[in-house]
């Protein structure tokens, strides 16, 4: 499964408005277009994962992720905050790029962990932060995935 196929244009926001970690999680969740109650539950679950340790993996990238029964298939979203935000990242630096991954508790295709690994790998490519900074439309984000995460 290619990463490109798991993202949609609606699931990409290149100008996140939120300033705090909690609000950024909420804004990312909204990209999945769930009902209010599902959003609440998902937020709690993501927070719980963050309490174990930040998903900010350094180099300006965070990958908040969890399994939750509010989704019935693997869902991904991408948010960018050009000026960066504090996310208690591993390297203490502000985060500019947020990849949200949510999987149902049980998946037939078992894509969650491989996809999480692929995103982490993609994010570790030293050129990626610059590329992400340069994109100006959601379509360009999808094109970047197509090119860099085949």
């Amino acid at each position: 499964m290619k990463l490109r196929q798991l993202f949609t244009l609606e699931g990409v926001n290149l100008e996140l408005k939120a300033e705090t970690k909690d609000d950024i999680l909420k804004e990312l969740i909204q990209l999945l277009d769930l009902d209010d109650k599902s959003e609440t539950i998902l937020f709690k679950t993501l927070k719980r994962r963050e309490n174990l340790g930040s998903t900010g993996i350094g180099k300006g990238i965070a990958i908040p992720h969890c399994r939750s029964l509010v989704v019935n298939r693997l869902r991904l979203a991408y948010g960018r905050k050009p000026e960066g935000a504090d996310f208690n990242s591993i390297d203490g630096e502000p985060v500019h790029n947020f990849f949200l991954i949510v999987a149902p508790p049980l998946e037939v295709s078992n894509q969650y962990l491989p996809v999480l690994g692929k995103i982490a790998q993609f994010a570790k490519d030293p050129d990626i932060p610059t590329h992400l900074q340069d994109i100006s439309t959601p379509q360009e984000f999808l094109d970047l995935l197509e090119e860099k995460a085949p």
């Binding site: 909420k26 909204q30 109650k37 599902s38 959003e39 709690k44 174990l52 509010v70």
Partner: protein
Amino acid sequence: MSGPSDTRGMDPQLMLLLELQDLRAQRKELAESEVAERMQEEHFHIDPADARSHLDEKITEIEQELHPRIRARYAQIVPMRDRVVVPVINGVCYGCFVSIPTATAGDRDSPAGVQSCEHCGCFIYILN
């Protein structure tokens, strides 16, 4: 936005069960999947053993907040099933994959409180 901080209309006990459900899923993955364990260690610098004990504490804490009747029911389901709360999607219970009567499934906004599948006994959460 009302958004992710809106818990109006949601039964607080169901909310706790859902939290427990997700915590248990995280706990299980960290205990049973080497891939998950390695990934959390390598990419996110999480110590799996620490994470498991943190989750265990959290689970015990929330279990104490359950209403005694619901806790008793929960304690019955846990040893038998991976999941305590299951979604109902299009009228089908995802615990037993049996189509359940709408009367049981009910309206997710109803004040009826925590509902369960009369077929498999799991607590249910109705997903749109």
